[in-house]
């Protein structure tokens, strides 16, 4: 379900100065990836430091009224999404925006405001090992990046390895998808084994829908 909202609105006040104790010239961007058989969810928290706050806010506040409208935060979120890439087995996946929340300018300018974005890509992870690759190049010169995979909620999906670049712009995950085992294990196992034989040639096909 699509949900775009703006949490708080604020007025632009002159005379802002760096607050102590906080990041100054960096744009902290933390991504968490949630992986399930049919979907990869991307949660992205964006926290501009004091000295880059005005630059980031200018990208959001397109009409310059020092307030964030739903249209403006959605517009910024879509701009960020264009700087993200997600692929499964080298096939690019389209991300669909589901959430975009912005704090007020008062909070952003103090280096404490965090913009929350959420998007997803439909996938169809068949049984086998898949390579999921994610990268975030949004404001890459001022950005400080974190990217992590959440532990899958089902044992049928296991993250076998993860590799990042030094700055954590991106992550490569090797994900092993097994047959889903429910409570009807004794029924499922033989049926799944038979199905696996029948579709052996297609067992590592995947993709983004």
């Amino acid at each position: 379900m699509r949900r775009i909202c703006v949490l708080a609105l604020g007025l632009l006040l002159p005379g802002s100065a760096p607050a102590e104790a906080h990041r100054l010239d960096e744009y902290l961007q933390a991504t968490r990836l949630g992986i399930s058989r049919d979907r990869v969810v991307v949660e992205l928290d964006l926290t501009p430091g004091v000295l880059v706050a005005a630059q980031v806010f200018a990208m959001i506040d397109r009409d310059g009224d020092a307030r964030v409208s739903p249209v403006e935060i959605e517009g910024y979120a879509r701009r960020v999404l264009r700087d993200l890439s997600l692929s499964v087995d080298d096939r690019p996946c389209a991300l669909t925006l589901t959430r975009a929340e912005s704090p007020s300018w008062d909070e952003i300018r103090e280096g404490e405001g965090t913009i929350h974005l959420e998007a997803f890509a439909d996938t169809a992870l068949a049984r086998g090992v898949h390579r999921i690759r994610y990268a975030n190049m949004h404001e890459s010169t001022s950005g400080v990046f974190l990217v992590n995979a959440l532990k899958p909620s089902t044992r049928a999906i296991a993250i076998r390895s993860q590799r990042r670049d030094v700055q954590q712009h991106g992550i490569d995950l090797d994900v092993d998808v097994a047959t889903s085992l429910g409570t009807a294990t004794w029924f499922v196992i033989p049926v799944a084994a038979l199905a696996a034989l029948l579709i052996r040639r297609r067992r590592t096909t995947v993709s983004c829908r």
Binding site: A19, G113, R164
Partner: protein
């Protein structure tokens, strides 16, 4: 029975009733819940109706998640604009004394001292930053901005919760009968070292030193396993990230020697033993039982005194320690940490009973 100075070492500027001479005797042993109920009742009895209404909240899945590392004046990660409870700055000196006695009642002696040290550090931060703070800024640090909240009805048998927090501190203790749970809890410090009454205070110094000690006790192959080959500039599962579990990384404790495992346990103990001794001992026993499946990960320098992030992650445990330096200005003087139990944050197994 041992004497314990509830206000010892805390910089209570202008509040003489909470000067270091204040004594309060606490039982050396006994259930923290019983002590907590008595202390909570005593604290609440000092409050007039309006303050009592502010200090008390129902305990539910929404109220218990309202906490943050952030200073007053900033919207928290969960969207709230103010912490739960009544802040010390809105209490009389005798109410402050009762409030701190309540915090002390549910924590260990060392844990309570750690809390005081963090509050003192933030008071120092307020004193050094307030003179140059823009008039328009709503951000506030300092002792007066630490909040105490009682969630639910203090009871020796039924679940209730105590929250004490401010900038760089969020103590969340859920109590239910003889059991108490400390997770999730955030500790932090800025400055990470300061002088008070001629003594150097490092609120998170032992955490830092023990972790560096462990990292340097690993051999080269073990270090390679523990080292993350990327920089980590912040907590991954900090405030607002409830209910999430990341894929473990680093070296498994099953690959450590007995001495190294003991050192890892000693690192973990720095967070767990903030809680009262009895509950902390039970938690440590659980953690040690799962130690073989616990991971230790490290990013940054292995030279103590330089910036390094570390993480300890097990089936019922997550600890992160993250210096808040930047690429252009690395620092060890501003630390954030988080302590979670992915299976029992907020004492969820106790509350749902």
């Amino acid at each position: 029975m041992s004497a314990f100075k509830v206000g010892a070492g805390l910089m209570f500027l202008g509040i003489s009733a909470l000067a270091p001479t204040t004594d309060q005797r606490l039982p050396a042993e006994g259930g923290a819940t019983v002590k907590g109920v008595a202390a909570a009742t005593a604290f609440l009895n000092t409050l007039d109706p309006s303050r009592r209404a502010k200090a008390t909240l129902p305990l539910n899945k929404t109220t218990r998640t309202v906490w943050s590392n952030l200073p007053t004046g900033v919207t928290m990660q969960v969207g709230a604009t103010e912490r739960n409870g009544l802040k010390l700055g809105d209490m009389t000196p005798s109410q402050q004394q009762a409030a701190l006695a309540l915090v002390a009642a549910v924590l260990s002696r060392a844990g309570y001292q750690k809390v005081l040290n963090i509050v003192n550090a933030d008071q120092r931060l307020e004193e050094t930053t307030a003179p140059t703070r823009p008039a328009s800024s709503r951000t506030r640090f300092g002792r007066a901005e630490f909040y105490l909240a009682v969630l639910g009805t203090p009871s020796a048998t039924d679940p209730w919760m105590l929250q004490f927090g401010g900038h760089h501190l969020a103590i969340n203790v859920t109590l239910a009968g003889r059991e108490s749970v400390l997770t999730p809890t955030h500790t932090g410090a800025q400055p990470a070292a300061f002088s008070l009454n001629g003594e150097t205070i490092r609120p998170l110094g032992r955490e830092n030193d023990k972790a560096f000690g462990l990292m340097n006790a690993l051999d080269a192959a073990q270090q390679k396993q523990a080292l993350l080959d990327y920089q980590v500039r912040n907590l991954v599962l900090g405030p607002g990230e409830d209910g999430k579990v990341i894929q473990p990384e680093g070296i498994r404790a099953s690959g450590l020697s007995a001495r190294q495992r003991a050192m890892l346990i000693d690192v973990i103990r720095e967070w767990v033993t903030i809680l009262d001794d009895e509950a902390a001992a039970a938690k440590m026993k659980e953690i040690e039982a799962n130690l073989g499946d616990t991971y230790f990960a490290w990013a940054g320098s292995t030279t103590n005194g330089k910036e390094a992030y570390f993480r300890v992650q097990g089936p019922t445990l997550l600890i992160e320690y993250a210096p808040q330096g930047t690429n252009s200005a690395p620092t060890t003087d501003h630390i954030h940490t988080i302590y979670r139990d992915p299976t029992n944050d907020y004492g969820s197994t106790l509350v749902s009973r």
